[in-house]
């Protein structure tokens, strides 16, 4: 009995905080927009019964998503931004994780602390801070002009570059931590064995270190890729008018257009798209656990 109770807690949690809201969103996505409060139709009415209610629902909004090219372009553009920024996060995160894992043991908790430290301030404030750094009169341009590298200020803010910078900065810890934990467990004698068998330092890195931190790389990449795909704050604060991301489209449908049904349809499709990487991520985690046993 107690066992069932313990198992039930996470399921109730999941039901209340994910499945029920999802069902509501799904229902809205099948409704029609209406000038009302809430701004969609039909509302469930006990008097008319469930059959009449269901008869009012249709897939019109999903069809609409395929008809207007804004949506699939936004999905594709989000995908592209997510892939590229995951790649850059990996590029920046791997050396940091490697340096941390190679640092003397007494330094590691401090370094770990420094990686997590940014979470102590609000994410929003940190993104605003980047606006101050990247704008035309911002610190970066002032500094570059002071050193004489450039004579005209660079336009970074409100471009895709600013979005990439913001994403890489924000999501870096999610990349570093799983890679670090994989590298920290790496047995140093494996590298020595590779060198003993004729590898140079560099080839030992590619043939031993990288394959053995593969699970960390995969985990970190998914931890960055999945949230970035639906990212809204960074593109809307740092991006320009041509930065197309599905999170931004979703926001505009909800709050500018007040078209809740189409917005819900966008959200449902986004969720379905995310199921694929999430399943892959889960499988990777499972494989890792099996390998450790």
């Amino acid at each position: 009995m107690r066992r069932y109770f313990l198992i039930a807690i996470p399921y109730v949690w999941l039901l209340a905080l994910f499945l029920v809201p999802f069902a509501i969103v799904l229902k809205i996505s099948l409704s029609d927009a209406a000038i009302a409060r809430p701004p969609y139709f039909p509302q469930f009415d006990w008097a008319e019964g469930i059959a009449a209610f269901l008869a009012e629902l249709d897939f019109e909004n999903f069809v609409w998503l395929t008809e207007d090219d804004l949506y699939w372009k936004a999905y594709l553009s989000s995908l592209k931004i997510a892939v590229i920024s995951t790649f850059f996060t990996l590029l920046a995160g791997y050396p940091i994780a490697y340096g941390m894992a190679r640092a003397p043991a007494e330094w590691r908790p401090t370094l770990m602390m420094l990686v997590i430290l940014p979470f102590w301030t609000s994410f929003l404030i940190r993104v605003y801070a980047w606006m101050g750094i990247l704008s035309n009169e911002g610190f970066l341009n002032q500094f570059l002009m002071w050193t004489g590298v450039i004579s005209e200020p660079l336009t970074i803010l409100n471009t895709n570059s600013a979005v990439y910078i913001g994403i890489v900065y924000t999501y870096l810890p999610f990349m570093i931590l799983p890679i670090y934990s994989a590298l920290e467990r790496l047995d140093g004698s494996l590298i020595e064995a590779a060198e003993d068998l004729g590898c140079s330092r560099l080839s030992a890195f590619w043939l031993v270190t990288v394959p053995l931190s593969k699970n960390g790389i995969i985990a970190g990449s998914f931890l960055v890729f999945i949230p970035v795909l639906g990212e809204f704050v960074i593109p809307s604060l740092l991006g320009g008018s041509d930065t197309l991301m599905i999170g931004k489209v979703l926001w505009e449908e909800f709050f500018s257009n007040r078209d809740w049904p189409v917005a819900s349809a966008v959200a449902v499709v986004l969720l379905l798209l995310l199921v694929v990487p999430i399943v892959l991520f889960q499988r990777n985690q499972q494989k890792q656990q099996e390998a450790e046993q």
Partner: protein, 375 residues
């Protein structure tokens, strides 16, 4: 002397494969290797034996190239190897943890070093198959290291380190992770493989039995110094110091003063009121010099009556008996309070054992049974 015996160290003409010349290794204030000079010959099975922290692993890591000497030079086949990085040395190492690559199969692990040499593909295949046959691993070629047993992993590590035909193979506690029975079997396998391949082996171990079994010569180390290098039998029978005598096997040490009594023969007075002990020993002692008689328990015989012909005989009382199945060790307390261990084979069932606790017995040994040691 048998001329066919393998004893290059006695041949003044023989050139050593490895030559350590006044090698010192310091880590800050700590001296791991202290002004050490040794020679290791081709085809030797050389064991470095010592307690943990004695510098034996440092010595091996210097041979592999993971450490460089602070002072002195190391020559391999006449060439100074200090500037040669580990990946360019004709030396391979078998790691204590085996260090098998967990993401590669047994086959790929063995092929790893060969692929780095840019060997043609079918030659790699042939060589790997050969190594698999040598180590009887043919059936496990496709498995990953975590899918095979500890003993099999040990053999993969050996196959991988031998695959590149190294001039010198280093083995760092190669059998430490195996249980006793498997360890004994593997010792003979190692000797067999060493003989078949003709590779020079240097093994690091803290297990004296292992060193004695496999090695052609044993180097006993302590605090970064070599205390004695000799064949296993000489290490055991004629240790050069109390440290070696005590470290290798079981030993009785009797303290006394030497009195020369003919060439190489001494009368050692050890306790007032007891007759001096007759000892024949090659080590020179002056009259009245303090010395230790080191004598192995199995060379002390135990009897109920005083033996008539023995060179040395003392009486005592049995304090303790350690029954080990095949043999028993009797701890006999002498009237002086000293305890001497004597070993006897259990030729009869335990119920018919001749001696028991509190029995008064005679211990006897010949003049040549022990050695006199200064320190």
């Amino acid at each position: 002397m048998n001329t066919s015996a393998f004893e290059p160290w006695n041949d003044p003409e023989a050139k050593p494969l490895i030559h350590f010349q006044n090698v010192t290794k310091r880590y800050g204030e700590f001296t791991a290797i202290d002004n050490l000079t040794i020679d290791i010959y081709e085809r030797e099975f050389y064991a470095l034996l010592g307690p943990s922290g004695c510098g034996k692993t440092t010595l091996m890591r210097m041979l592999a190239g993971f450490e460089t000497p602070t002072e002195g030079t190391i020559h391999l086949a006449g060439q100074d190897i200090a500037p040669v990085p580990p990946n360019k040395r004709a030396v391979n190492m078998m790691f204590q943890s085996y260090a098998l690559f967990p993401h590669l199969s047994v086959w790929e692990n063995i092929a790893f070093g060969l692929k780095r040499e840019k060997m043609p593909k079918h030659d790699i295949g042939d060589r790997v198959e050969e190594m698999l046959r040598l180590t009887r691993l043919e059936k496990f070629a496709r498995r990953k290291p975590h899918q095979i047993s500890g003993g099999q992993r040990q053999r993969v590590a050996l196959a991988r380190s031998l695959a590149k035909h190294p001039k010198l193979l280093l083995l760092d506690e190669p059998l430490g992770a195996l249980d006793k029975k498997l360890r004994q079997e593997t010792q003979f396998e190692l000797m067999d493989i060493q003989e078949k391949t003709g590779t020079t082996f240097v093994i690091v171990t803290h297990d004296q039995e292992e060193a004695m079994t496999v090695a052609s010569r044993v180097a006993v180390m302590d605090h970064g110094k070599i205390i004695q290098v000799a064949t296993p039998d000489r290490i055991y029978e004629t240790p050069n110091s109390v440290y070696v005598a005590d470290f290798i096997g079981d030993v009785n040490l009797i303290e006394g003063t030497a009195k020369p009594n003919g060439s190489d023969v001494y009368a050692m007075s050890w306790h007032e009121g007891h007759a001096p002990l007759a000892v024949q020993s090659p080590n020179g002692f002056s009259d009245g010099q303090k010395c230790h008689l080191a004598i192995r328990p199995e060379k002390v015989s135990i009897s109920a009556d005083k033996p008539e012909t023995a060179d040395n005989a003392v009486q005592g009382k049995i304090l303790d008996i350690a029954y080990l199945g095949n043999i028993s060790t009797y701890h006999v307390e002498l009237p002086t309070g000293a305890v001497i261990k004597a070993q006897a084979a259990n030729t009869r069932r335990i119920a018919r054992r001749a001696f028991t606790w509190e029995d008064t017995v005679w211990l006897s040994w010949t003049a040549t049974a022990g050695v006199l040691l200064a320190e």
